[in-house]
Protein backbone atom coordinates (compact mmCIF):
# COMPACT_ATOMS: atom_id res chain seq x y z
CA UNK A 1 0.00 0.00 0.00
CA UNK A 2 2.72 2.39 0.96
CA UNK A 3 4.01 2.77 -2.57
CA UNK A 4 0.64 3.88 -3.91
CA UNK A 5 0.11 7.54 -4.70
CA UNK A 6 -3.15 9.45 -4.86
CA UNK A 7 -3.39 10.27 -8.55
CA UNK A 8 -6.08 11.74 -10.78
CA UNK A 9 -7.07 9.90 -13.97
CA UNK A 10 -5.74 12.58 -16.30
CA UNK A 11 -2.51 12.75 -14.29
CA UNK A 12 -2.09 8.98 -14.64
CA UNK A 13 -2.39 9.42 -18.40
CA UNK A 14 0.49 11.90 -18.37
CA UNK A 15 2.63 9.61 -16.21
CA UNK A 16 1.87 6.63 -18.43
CA UNK A 17 2.71 8.56 -21.58
CA UNK A 18 6.05 9.72 -20.18
CA UNK A 19 6.81 6.16 -19.04
CA UNK A 20 6.05 4.90 -22.56
CA UNK A 21 8.56 7.37 -23.98
CA UNK A 22 6.25 10.13 -25.18
CA UNK A 23 8.26 13.30 -25.70
CA UNK A 24 5.90 15.44 -27.78
CA UNK A 25 2.49 16.88 -26.95
CA UNK A 26 0.50 19.36 -29.00
CA UNK A 27 -3.00 20.19 -27.90
CA UNK A 28 -5.78 22.67 -27.40
CA UNK A 29 -7.50 23.12 -24.04
CA UNK A 30 -10.88 21.48 -23.64
CA UNK A 31 -12.81 20.24 -20.62
CA UNK A 32 -12.56 17.56 -19.25
CA UNK A 33 -9.11 16.74 -20.70
CA UNK A 34 -7.28 19.98 -19.90
CA UNK A 35 -5.30 18.64 -16.93
CA UNK A 36 -3.36 16.49 -19.39
CA UNK A 37 -2.18 19.56 -21.34
CA UNK A 38 -1.39 21.45 -18.13
CA UNK A 39 0.70 18.63 -16.71
CA UNK A 40 2.44 18.02 -20.02
CA UNK A 41 3.34 21.72 -20.15
CA UNK A 42 4.95 21.32 -16.75
CA UNK A 43 6.65 17.97 -17.23
CA UNK A 44 7.78 17.70 -20.84
CA UNK A 45 10.40 20.48 -20.68
CA UNK A 46 11.93 18.69 -17.69
CA UNK A 47 12.69 15.64 -19.82
CA UNK A 48 13.71 17.59 -22.93
CA UNK A 49 10.38 16.96 -24.63
CA UNK A 50 8.22 19.40 -26.56
CA UNK A 51 4.92 20.87 -25.39
CA UNK A 52 2.95 23.09 -27.74
CA UNK A 53 -0.42 24.72 -27.28
CA UNK A 54 -1.85 25.01 -30.76
CA UNK A 55 -4.44 27.27 -32.38
CA UNK A 56 -7.00 24.44 -32.58
CA UNK A 57 -7.43 20.68 -32.50
CA UNK A 58 -6.80 20.32 -36.23
CA UNK A 59 -3.37 21.87 -35.82
CA UNK A 60 -2.81 19.77 -32.69
CA UNK A 61 -3.17 16.43 -34.41
CA UNK A 62 -1.35 17.65 -37.54
CA UNK A 63 1.57 18.73 -35.40
CA UNK A 64 1.87 15.45 -33.52
CA UNK A 65 1.67 13.53 -36.80
CA UNK A 66 4.57 15.67 -38.04
CA UNK A 67 6.48 15.01 -34.83
CA UNK A 68 5.88 11.28 -35.09
CA UNK A 69 7.01 11.29 -38.72
CA UNK A 70 10.22 12.86 -37.44
CA UNK A 71 10.55 9.99 -34.94
CA UNK A 72 9.03 11.31 -31.70
CA UNK A 73 6.46 9.43 -29.66
CA UNK A 74 3.65 11.95 -29.64
CA UNK A 75 0.18 12.46 -28.27
CA UNK A 76 -2.65 14.91 -28.02
CA UNK A 77 -5.57 15.02 -25.61
CA UNK A 78 -9.03 16.35 -26.25
CA UNK A 79 -12.73 15.80 -25.71
CA UNK A 80 -15.68 15.14 -28.03
CA UNK A 81 -15.85 18.45 -29.95
CA UNK A 82 -12.09 18.55 -30.40
CA UNK A 83 -12.05 14.88 -31.32
CA UNK A 84 -14.56 15.65 -34.07
CA UNK A 85 -12.20 18.29 -35.45
CA UNK A 86 -9.33 15.80 -35.48
CA UNK A 87 -11.07 13.18 -37.57
CA UNK A 88 -9.69 14.09 -40.99
CA UNK A 89 -6.10 13.94 -39.83
CA UNK A 90 -6.75 10.82 -37.77
CA UNK A 91 -7.60 9.28 -41.13
CA UNK A 92 -4.37 10.70 -42.54
CA UNK A 93 -2.38 8.98 -39.78
CA UNK A 94 -4.23 5.72 -40.43
CA UNK A 95 -3.58 5.99 -44.18
CA UNK A 96 0.09 6.95 -43.91
CA UNK A 97 0.63 4.56 -40.95
CA UNK A 98 1.98 7.11 -38.53
CA UNK A 99 1.83 5.97 -34.90
CA UNK A 100 0.33 8.35 -32.36
CA UNK A 101 -2.00 8.41 -29.37
CA UNK A 102 -5.13 10.55 -29.15
CA UNK A 103 -6.69 10.75 -25.70
CA UNK A 104 -10.41 11.52 -25.78
CA UNK A 105 -11.80 12.28 -22.32
CA UNK A 106 -15.47 12.12 -23.11
CA UNK A 107 -18.23 14.53 -22.12
CA UNK A 108 -21.89 14.90 -22.96
CA UNK A 109 -22.81 15.76 -26.55
CA UNK A 110 -23.79 16.46 -29.23
CA UNK A 111 -22.23 19.89 -29.79
CA UNK A 112 -21.00 21.74 -26.70
CA UNK A 113 -23.29 19.45 -24.73
CA UNK A 114 -22.33 18.98 -21.10
CA UNK A 115 -18.62 19.77 -20.79
CA UNK A 116 -18.16 18.82 -17.14
CA UNK A 117 -20.13 15.59 -17.06
CA UNK A 118 -19.45 12.08 -18.23
CA UNK A 119 -20.83 10.46 -21.36
CA UNK A 120 -19.97 7.51 -23.58
CA UNK A 121 -21.48 8.97 -26.72
CA UNK A 122 -18.14 8.81 -28.58
CA UNK A 123 -18.03 5.00 -28.77
CA UNK A 124 -18.87 5.00 -32.46
CA UNK A 125 -17.06 8.25 -33.28
CA UNK A 126 -13.84 6.68 -32.00
CA UNK A 127 -14.26 3.88 -34.53
CA UNK A 128 -16.02 5.51 -37.44
CA UNK A 129 -15.49 9.24 -37.01
CA UNK A 130 -13.40 9.75 -40.11
CA UNK A 131 -14.30 8.88 -43.65
CA UNK A 132 -13.18 5.70 -45.31
CA UNK A 133 -12.60 2.19 -44.02
CA UNK A 134 -9.65 2.83 -41.78
CA UNK A 135 -7.82 0.93 -39.07
CA UNK A 136 -7.85 2.22 -35.52
CA UNK A 137 -7.36 0.77 -32.06
CA UNK A 138 -9.46 2.10 -29.20
CA UNK A 139 -8.61 1.32 -25.57
CA UNK A 140 -10.87 2.13 -22.61
CA UNK A 141 -9.68 2.24 -19.00
CA UNK A 142 -12.13 2.31 -16.11
CA UNK A 143 -9.83 3.14 -13.21
CA UNK A 144 -6.92 5.45 -12.61
CA UNK A 145 -4.51 2.50 -12.52
CA UNK A 146 -5.85 1.33 -15.87
CA UNK A 147 -5.44 4.82 -17.34
CA UNK A 148 -1.75 4.57 -16.49
CA UNK A 149 -1.35 1.01 -17.74
CA UNK A 150 -3.40 1.39 -20.92
CA UNK A 151 -1.68 4.65 -21.87
CA UNK A 152 1.54 2.64 -22.02
CA UNK A 153 -0.26 -0.09 -23.96
CA UNK A 154 -1.63 2.54 -26.34
CA UNK A 155 1.85 3.77 -27.25
CA UNK A 156 3.12 0.21 -27.56
CA UNK A 157 0.31 -0.79 -29.91
CA UNK A 158 0.72 2.41 -31.93
CA UNK A 159 4.41 1.73 -32.51
CA UNK A 160 3.95 -2.01 -33.03
CA UNK A 161 1.13 -1.73 -35.55
CA UNK A 162 1.98 1.69 -36.99
CA UNK A 163 -1.50 2.97 -36.37
CA UNK A 164 -3.24 5.74 -34.43
CA UNK A 165 -4.54 4.55 -31.06
CA UNK A 166 -7.39 6.29 -29.28
CA UNK A 167 -7.51 6.17 -25.50
CA UNK A 168 -11.15 6.70 -24.61
CA UNK A 169 -12.34 7.37 -21.09
CA UNK A 170 -15.16 9.38 -19.62
CA UNK A 171 -15.01 12.45 -17.39
CA UNK A 172 -15.53 10.41 -14.22
CA UNK A 173 -12.47 8.26 -14.91
CA UNK A 174 -10.48 11.34 -15.97
CA UNK A 175 -11.19 13.27 -12.81
CA UNK A 176 -11.39 10.74 -10.00
CA UNK A 177 -8.42 10.22 -7.73
CA UNK A 178 -7.33 6.81 -6.52
CA UNK A 179 -4.32 5.10 -5.07
CA UNK A 180 -2.11 4.06 -7.97
CA UNK A 181 1.24 2.38 -8.50
CA UNK A 182 3.05 4.47 -11.07
CA UNK A 183 5.11 1.53 -12.23
CA UNK A 184 4.58 -0.99 -14.97
CA UNK A 185 6.01 -4.32 -15.94
CA UNK A 186 5.09 -3.68 -19.59
CA UNK A 187 8.15 -3.43 -21.79
CA UNK A 188 8.22 -0.27 -23.88
CA UNK A 189 7.97 -0.97 -27.62
CA UNK A 190 9.82 1.28 -30.03
CA UNK A 191 9.32 1.64 -33.75
CA UNK A 192 11.21 -0.78 -35.94
CA UNK A 193 13.79 0.76 -38.24
CA UNK A 194 14.31 -0.40 -41.82
CA UNK A 195 16.79 -3.22 -42.27
CA UNK A 196 17.69 -2.35 -45.87
CA UNK A 197 19.87 0.45 -47.15
CA UNK A 198 18.32 3.75 -48.27
CA UNK A 199 18.86 2.86 -51.92
CA UNK A 200 16.82 -0.34 -51.57
CA UNK A 201 14.20 1.16 -49.26
CA UNK A 202 10.50 1.02 -50.10
CA UNK A 203 8.65 2.64 -47.20
CA UNK A 204 5.39 0.73 -47.62
CA UNK A 205 6.80 -2.65 -48.63
CA UNK A 206 5.86 -5.04 -45.83
CA UNK A 207 7.36 -8.27 -47.15
CA UNK A 208 5.61 -11.29 -45.68
CA UNK A 209 4.16 -9.17 -42.86
CA UNK A 210 1.55 -6.47 -42.78
CA UNK A 211 3.37 -3.64 -41.03
CA UNK A 212 5.72 -1.19 -42.74
CA UNK A 213 8.97 0.03 -41.26
CA UNK A 214 8.81 3.79 -41.64
CA UNK A 215 12.11 5.54 -41.12
CA UNK A 216 11.86 8.87 -39.30
CA UNK A 217 12.38 11.91 -41.52
CA UNK A 218 15.99 13.00 -41.30
CA UNK A 219 17.37 9.52 -40.73
CA UNK A 220 18.89 9.18 -44.19
CA UNK A 221 15.94 7.44 -45.84
CA UNK A 222 14.36 9.92 -48.21
CA UNK A 223 10.86 9.01 -49.30
CA UNK A 224 7.44 10.44 -50.01
CA UNK A 225 4.47 10.14 -47.74
CA UNK A 226 0.97 11.04 -48.91
CA UNK A 227 -2.62 10.70 -47.79
CA UNK A 228 -3.46 9.74 -51.36
CA UNK A 229 -3.81 6.03 -52.10
CA UNK A 230 -0.25 4.97 -52.67
CA UNK A 231 1.93 2.05 -53.64
CA UNK A 232 4.91 0.53 -51.83
CA UNK A 233 7.06 3.51 -52.79
CA UNK A 234 4.67 5.87 -51.03
CA UNK A 235 3.76 7.69 -54.25
CA UNK A 236 0.15 8.13 -55.35
CA UNK A 237 -1.31 5.45 -57.54
CA UNK A 238 -4.43 5.16 -59.63
CA UNK A 239 -3.95 1.43 -60.18
CA UNK A 240 -7.17 -0.22 -58.92
CA UNK A 241 -5.41 -3.38 -57.71
CA UNK A 242 -2.83 -1.37 -55.76
CA UNK A 243 -5.52 0.84 -54.20
CA UNK A 244 -7.50 -2.17 -53.02
CA UNK A 245 -4.41 -4.02 -51.79
CA UNK A 246 -3.43 -1.05 -49.62
CA UNK A 247 -6.88 -0.71 -48.08
CA UNK A 248 -7.06 -4.42 -47.29
CA UNK A 249 -3.58 -4.46 -45.76
CA UNK A 250 -4.27 -1.37 -43.63
CA UNK A 251 -7.26 -3.09 -42.08
CA UNK A 252 -5.75 -6.59 -42.01
CA UNK A 253 -2.87 -5.47 -39.84
CA UNK A 254 -5.43 -4.93 -37.09
CA UNK A 255 -7.93 -7.67 -37.98
CA UNK A 256 -5.30 -10.38 -38.18
CA UNK A 257 -3.86 -9.38 -34.81
CA UNK A 258 -7.12 -9.25 -32.87
CA UNK A 259 -5.90 -11.76 -30.29
CA UNK A 260 -2.97 -9.56 -29.35
CA UNK A 261 -4.95 -6.33 -29.41
CA UNK A 262 -8.18 -7.32 -27.65
CA UNK A 263 -7.90 -6.87 -23.87
CA UNK A 264 -10.66 -7.52 -21.38
CA UNK A 265 -11.26 -8.66 -17.84
CA UNK A 266 -13.76 -11.39 -16.98
CA UNK A 267 -15.37 -11.97 -13.59
CA UNK A 268 -17.19 -15.23 -12.68
CA UNK A 269 -18.37 -16.21 -16.15
CA UNK A 270 -18.27 -20.01 -15.86
CA UNK A 271 -21.72 -20.59 -14.39
CA UNK A 272 -23.12 -17.15 -15.10
CA UNK A 273 -26.80 -16.78 -15.92
CA UNK A 274 -26.54 -13.03 -16.20
CA UNK A 275 -23.50 -11.09 -17.41
CA UNK A 276 -22.88 -7.39 -17.05
CA UNK A 277 -20.94 -6.04 -20.01
CA UNK A 278 -19.41 -2.59 -19.74
CA UNK A 279 -16.43 -0.31 -20.27
CA UNK A 280 -15.35 2.90 -18.56
CA UNK A 281 -17.05 4.23 -15.46
CA UNK A 282 -20.14 1.95 -15.68
CA UNK A 283 -17.76 -0.94 -14.95
CA UNK A 284 -17.41 0.50 -11.46
CA UNK A 285 -21.14 0.33 -10.80
CA UNK A 286 -21.46 -3.11 -12.39
CA UNK A 287 -18.56 -4.51 -10.40
CA UNK A 288 -20.12 -3.51 -7.10
CA UNK A 289 -23.46 -5.05 -8.03
CA UNK A 290 -21.86 -8.19 -9.45
CA UNK A 291 -19.90 -8.78 -6.22
CA UNK A 292 -22.95 -8.21 -4.05
CA UNK A 293 -25.03 -10.53 -6.22
CA UNK A 294 -22.41 -13.30 -5.98
CA UNK A 295 -22.34 -12.84 -2.21
CA UNK A 296 -26.07 -13.50 -2.27
CA UNK A 297 -25.44 -16.65 -4.33
CA UNK A 298 -26.79 -15.26 -7.60
CA UNK A 299 -25.00 -16.48 -10.73
CA UNK A 300 -23.88 -13.13 -12.09
CA UNK A 301 -20.72 -12.39 -14.08
CA UNK A 302 -19.06 -9.34 -15.55
CA UNK A 303 -17.04 -8.64 -18.68
CA UNK A 304 -15.06 -5.43 -18.69
CA UNK A 305 -13.92 -4.40 -22.15
CA UNK A 306 -10.52 -2.71 -22.23
CA UNK A 307 -10.23 -2.84 -26.02
CA UNK A 308 -13.33 -1.41 -27.68
CA UNK A 309 -12.09 -1.53 -31.26
CA UNK A 310 -11.47 -3.92 -32.86
CA UNK A 311 -14.69 -5.08 -31.20
CA UNK A 312 -14.41 -8.49 -29.47
CA UNK A 313 -17.29 -10.19 -31.30
CA UNK A 314 -15.68 -13.64 -31.02
CA UNK A 315 -15.19 -13.31 -27.25
CA UNK A 316 -18.86 -12.47 -26.69
CA UNK A 317 -20.03 -15.19 -29.07
CA UNK A 318 -17.89 -17.78 -27.24
CA UNK A 319 -19.10 -16.66 -23.83
CA UNK A 320 -22.71 -16.81 -24.96
CA UNK A 321 -22.25 -20.24 -26.56
CA UNK A 322 -20.82 -21.55 -23.29
CA UNK A 323 -23.23 -19.90 -20.85
CA UNK A 324 -26.42 -18.93 -22.72
CA UNK A 325 -26.42 -16.04 -20.26
CA UNK A 326 -28.51 -12.91 -20.49
CA UNK A 327 -26.60 -9.65 -20.82
CA UNK A 328 -27.11 -6.38 -18.99
CA UNK A 329 -25.35 -3.50 -20.70
CA UNK A 330 -25.04 -0.27 -18.74
CA UNK A 331 -23.75 2.67 -20.71
CA UNK A 332 -23.75 6.44 -20.68
CA UNK A 333 -25.33 6.72 -24.12
CA UNK A 334 -28.50 5.70 -25.91
CA UNK A 335 -27.04 2.27 -26.63
CA UNK A 336 -24.05 2.45 -28.96
CA UNK A 337 -22.31 -0.44 -27.17
CA UNK A 338 -25.46 -2.55 -26.87
CA UNK A 339 -26.09 -2.17 -30.60
CA UNK A 340 -22.64 -3.53 -31.36
CA UNK A 341 -23.06 -6.40 -28.88
CA UNK A 342 -26.28 -7.43 -30.57
CA UNK A 343 -24.18 -8.09 -33.68
CA UNK A 344 -21.96 -10.46 -31.68
CA UNK A 345 -24.75 -12.36 -29.96
CA UNK A 346 -27.98 -11.90 -31.94
CA UNK A 347 -29.73 -14.64 -29.94
CA UNK A 348 -28.87 -13.26 -26.52
CA UNK A 349 -31.38 -11.43 -24.38
CA UNK A 350 -29.92 -7.98 -23.80
CA UNK A 351 -31.16 -5.59 -21.14
CA UNK A 352 -30.03 -2.03 -21.71
CA UNK A 353 -29.42 0.40 -18.88
CA UNK A 354 -28.84 3.82 -20.38
CA UNK A 355 -28.19 7.10 -18.70
CA UNK A 356 -27.78 10.39 -20.52
CA UNK A 357 -28.00 13.06 -17.83
CA UNK A 358 -24.28 13.28 -17.11
CA UNK A 359 -24.45 11.31 -13.87
CA UNK A 360 -23.06 7.84 -13.34
CA UNK A 361 -25.23 4.78 -13.56
CA UNK A 362 -25.82 3.89 -9.92
CA UNK A 363 -25.54 0.43 -8.37
CA UNK A 364 -29.21 0.82 -7.42
CA UNK A 365 -30.15 1.15 -11.10
CA UNK A 366 -28.24 -2.01 -11.91
CA UNK A 367 -29.72 -3.91 -8.95
CA UNK A 368 -33.12 -3.11 -10.35
CA UNK A 369 -32.14 -4.26 -13.83
CA UNK A 370 -30.74 -7.46 -12.35
CA UNK A 371 -33.98 -8.15 -10.49
CA UNK A 372 -35.83 -7.83 -13.77
CA UNK A 373 -33.65 -10.48 -15.39
CA UNK A 374 -33.11 -13.07 -12.64
Amino acid sequence: MGNKRLVQGNEACVEGALKAGARFFAGYPITPSTEIAELMAEKLPLVGGVFMQMEDEIASIATIIGASIAGAKALTATSGPGFSLMQENLGFAAMTEVPLVVVNVTRGGPSTGTPTKASQGDFMQARWGCHGDHPVIVLAPSSVQEVYDLTITAFNMAEKYMVPVVLLYDEVVGHLREGVKLASSQAVIDREMPTVSPSEYLPYATGDGLIPKLAPFGSGYRYHMSGLSHDETGFPTSNPATIEKLLIRLNDKIEKNRKDIIKYKAYDLDDAQVIFLAYGSPVRSALQVQKEARARGEKVGLIQLKTLWPFPHELLADVFAATKADFIIPELSLGQLADEVSKSVPQAKITRVNRNDGALITPAQLEQALKGVL
Partner: protein
Amino acid sequence: MNKNWELIISGSGGQGAILAGIIFAEAALANGYNVIQTQSYGPEARGGASRSEVMISHEELAYPKVQACNLMVAMTQESLDKYADMLADDGVLLTDQDIDASALKKSIRVYKAPIFATVEKLQKPMVANILVLGILNTISGIVKPENLSAAIQARVPAATISINLKALEEGIQIGKKLVNA
Protein backbone atom coordinates in the same frame (compact mmCIF):
# COMPACT_ATOMS: atom_id res chain seq x y z
CA MET B 1 -12.57 1.14 13.52
CA ASN B 2 -13.60 -1.28 10.82
CA LYS B 3 -16.07 0.51 8.66
CA ASN B 4 -16.53 2.19 5.32
CA TRP B 5 -16.53 5.92 5.34
CA GLU B 6 -18.45 7.87 2.75
CA LEU B 7 -17.32 11.43 3.31
CA ILE B 8 -18.58 14.66 1.76
CA ILE B 9 -16.80 17.94 2.35
CA SER B 10 -18.87 20.83 1.09
CA GLY B 11 -18.62 24.58 1.11
CA SER B 12 -18.79 27.54 -1.20
CA GLY B 13 -16.43 27.71 -4.17
CA GLY B 14 -13.06 29.02 -3.03
CA GLN B 15 -13.26 27.70 0.55
CA GLY B 16 -10.98 24.80 -0.30
CA ALA B 17 -13.49 21.99 0.18
CA ILE B 18 -12.07 20.16 -2.82
CA LEU B 19 -8.46 20.46 -1.68
CA ALA B 20 -9.53 19.30 1.78
CA GLY B 21 -11.05 16.17 0.21
CA ILE B 22 -7.87 15.47 -1.73
CA ILE B 23 -5.70 15.92 1.35
CA PHE B 24 -7.89 13.68 3.47
CA ALA B 25 -7.94 11.02 0.73
CA GLU B 26 -4.15 11.13 0.54
CA ALA B 27 -3.85 10.79 4.31
CA ALA B 28 -6.24 7.83 4.28
CA LEU B 29 -4.28 6.19 1.47
CA ALA B 30 -1.07 6.56 3.48
CA ASN B 31 -2.97 5.06 6.40
CA GLY B 32 -3.55 1.86 4.39
CA TYR B 33 -7.12 2.43 3.23
CA ASN B 34 -8.46 2.12 -0.26
CA VAL B 35 -9.69 5.55 -1.29
CA ILE B 36 -11.50 7.27 -4.14
CA GLN B 37 -11.87 11.02 -4.31
CA THR B 38 -14.22 12.81 -6.70
CA GLN B 39 -15.56 16.31 -6.91
CA SER B 40 -18.12 18.52 -8.57
CA TYR B 41 -16.66 20.34 -11.56
CA GLY B 42 -17.38 23.28 -13.75
CA PRO B 43 -19.43 26.44 -13.35
CA GLU B 44 -21.13 24.91 -10.29
CA ALA B 45 -17.72 24.68 -8.59
CA ARG B 46 -17.16 28.42 -8.92
CA GLY B 47 -19.00 30.16 -6.15
CA GLY B 48 -22.21 28.46 -5.07
CA ALA B 49 -22.02 25.15 -3.26
CA SER B 50 -19.25 22.75 -4.22
CA ARG B 51 -18.33 19.38 -2.84
CA SER B 52 -15.59 16.84 -2.63
CA GLU B 53 -16.44 13.19 -2.03
CA VAL B 54 -14.08 10.66 -0.48
CA MET B 55 -14.76 6.93 -0.24
CA ILE B 56 -12.58 5.28 2.41
CA SER B 57 -12.53 1.54 3.08
CA HIS B 58 -10.34 -1.41 3.95
CA GLU B 59 -12.24 -3.34 1.28
CA GLU B 60 -11.83 -2.96 -2.49
CA LEU B 61 -13.86 -0.02 -3.76
CA ALA B 62 -15.62 -0.11 -7.08
CA TYR B 63 -18.37 2.49 -7.36
CA PRO B 64 -16.63 5.84 -6.90
CA LYS B 65 -19.42 8.08 -5.65
CA VAL B 66 -21.01 8.46 -2.24
CA GLN B 67 -24.25 6.51 -1.95
CA ALA B 68 -25.02 6.86 1.75
CA CYS B 69 -22.96 9.63 3.28
CA ASN B 70 -22.05 8.81 6.88
CA LEU B 71 -19.72 11.74 7.41
CA MET B 72 -20.36 15.24 6.13
CA VAL B 73 -18.72 18.59 6.50
CA ALA B 74 -20.81 21.61 5.56
CA MET B 75 -18.92 24.88 5.67
CA THR B 76 -21.87 27.05 4.60
CA GLN B 77 -25.62 27.10 5.15
CA GLU B 78 -26.13 26.81 1.39
CA SER B 79 -24.01 23.69 1.10
CA LEU B 80 -25.75 22.08 4.08
CA ASP B 81 -29.16 22.82 2.64
CA LYS B 82 -28.10 21.49 -0.76
CA TYR B 83 -26.49 18.24 0.37
CA ALA B 84 -28.26 17.40 3.68
CA ASP B 85 -30.45 14.84 1.90
CA MET B 86 -27.37 12.78 1.11
CA LEU B 87 -26.68 12.17 4.82
CA ALA B 88 -27.55 8.69 6.06
CA ASP B 89 -29.84 8.43 9.08
CA ASP B 90 -26.94 7.39 11.29
CA GLY B 91 -24.59 9.90 9.72
CA VAL B 92 -22.40 12.52 11.34
CA LEU B 93 -22.36 16.22 10.43
CA LEU B 94 -19.62 18.69 11.23
CA THR B 95 -20.52 22.30 10.66
CA ASP B 96 -19.90 25.82 11.91
CA GLN B 97 -21.49 26.95 15.13
CA ASP B 98 -23.45 29.67 13.33
CA ILE B 99 -25.11 27.32 10.83
CA ASP B 100 -28.67 26.18 11.40
CA ALA B 101 -28.83 22.37 11.30
CA SER B 102 -32.17 22.08 13.10
CA ALA B 103 -33.93 20.66 10.04
CA LEU B 104 -31.85 17.45 10.14
CA LYS B 105 -33.24 14.16 11.37
CA LYS B 106 -32.67 13.68 15.08
CA SER B 107 -30.74 10.45 14.44
CA ILE B 108 -27.93 12.41 12.80
CA ARG B 109 -25.11 13.33 15.13
CA VAL B 110 -24.28 17.02 14.70
CA TYR B 111 -21.00 18.60 15.78
CA LYS B 112 -21.00 22.39 15.78
CA ALA B 113 -17.57 23.97 15.91
CA PRO B 114 -16.23 27.54 16.00
CA ILE B 115 -14.65 27.14 12.53
CA PHE B 116 -14.84 30.70 11.25
CA ALA B 117 -14.39 32.35 14.63
CA THR B 118 -11.11 30.47 14.99
CA VAL B 119 -9.71 31.27 11.54
CA GLU B 120 -10.65 34.89 12.13
CA LYS B 121 -8.55 34.73 15.25
CA LEU B 122 -5.69 33.28 13.13
CA GLN B 123 -6.31 36.13 10.65
CA LYS B 124 -6.14 33.57 7.80
CA PRO B 125 -9.63 32.73 6.51
CA MET B 126 -8.16 30.50 3.78
CA VAL B 127 -7.04 27.86 6.27
CA ALA B 128 -10.62 27.04 7.33
CA ASN B 129 -10.50 23.87 5.24
CA ILE B 130 -7.42 22.58 7.07
CA LEU B 131 -8.85 23.51 10.46
CA VAL B 132 -11.92 21.49 9.48
CA LEU B 133 -9.74 18.47 8.67
CA GLY B 134 -8.21 18.66 12.15
CA ILE B 135 -11.65 18.63 13.75
CA LEU B 136 -13.01 15.99 11.38
CA ASN B 137 -10.18 13.56 11.98
CA THR B 138 -10.24 14.04 15.72
CA ILE B 139 -13.97 13.29 16.00
CA SER B 140 -13.80 10.37 13.52
CA GLY B 141 -10.34 8.94 14.23
CA ILE B 142 -10.01 7.77 10.62
CA VAL B 143 -6.29 8.44 10.05
CA LYS B 144 -3.21 8.85 12.19
CA PRO B 145 -2.59 12.56 12.82
CA GLU B 146 0.93 12.30 11.36
CA ASN B 147 -0.50 11.04 8.04
CA LEU B 148 -2.85 14.00 7.91
CA SER B 149 -0.04 16.38 8.70
CA ALA B 150 2.15 14.85 5.97
CA ALA B 151 -0.62 15.06 3.38
CA ILE B 152 -1.21 18.73 4.23
CA GLN B 153 2.47 19.49 3.83
CA ALA B 154 2.54 17.71 0.47
CA ARG B 155 -0.45 19.52 -0.99
CA VAL B 156 -0.54 23.14 0.25
CA PRO B 157 1.73 25.85 -1.20
CA ALA B 158 5.16 25.70 0.47
CA ALA B 159 4.89 29.23 1.83
CA THR B 160 1.69 28.41 3.70
CA ILE B 161 2.76 25.18 5.41
CA SER B 162 3.34 26.64 8.86
CA ILE B 163 0.03 28.52 9.04
CA ASN B 164 -1.79 25.43 7.78
CA LEU B 165 -0.15 23.23 10.40
CA LYS B 166 -1.17 25.76 13.03
CA ALA B 167 -4.75 25.54 11.74
CA LEU B 168 -4.54 21.76 11.89
CA GLU B 169 -3.44 21.90 15.53
CA GLU B 170 -6.24 24.33 16.39
CA GLY B 171 -8.67 21.94 14.71
CA ILE B 172 -7.39 18.99 16.70
CA GLN B 173 -7.88 20.92 19.93
CA ILE B 174 -11.42 21.92 18.96
CA GLY B 175 -12.11 18.31 18.03
CA LYS B 176 -10.93 17.08 21.40
CA LYS B 177 -13.24 19.50 23.17
CA LEU B 178 -16.17 18.35 21.02
CA VAL B 179 -15.45 14.68 21.70
CA ASN B 180 -15.18 15.29 25.44
CA ALA B 181 -18.22 17.54 25.62
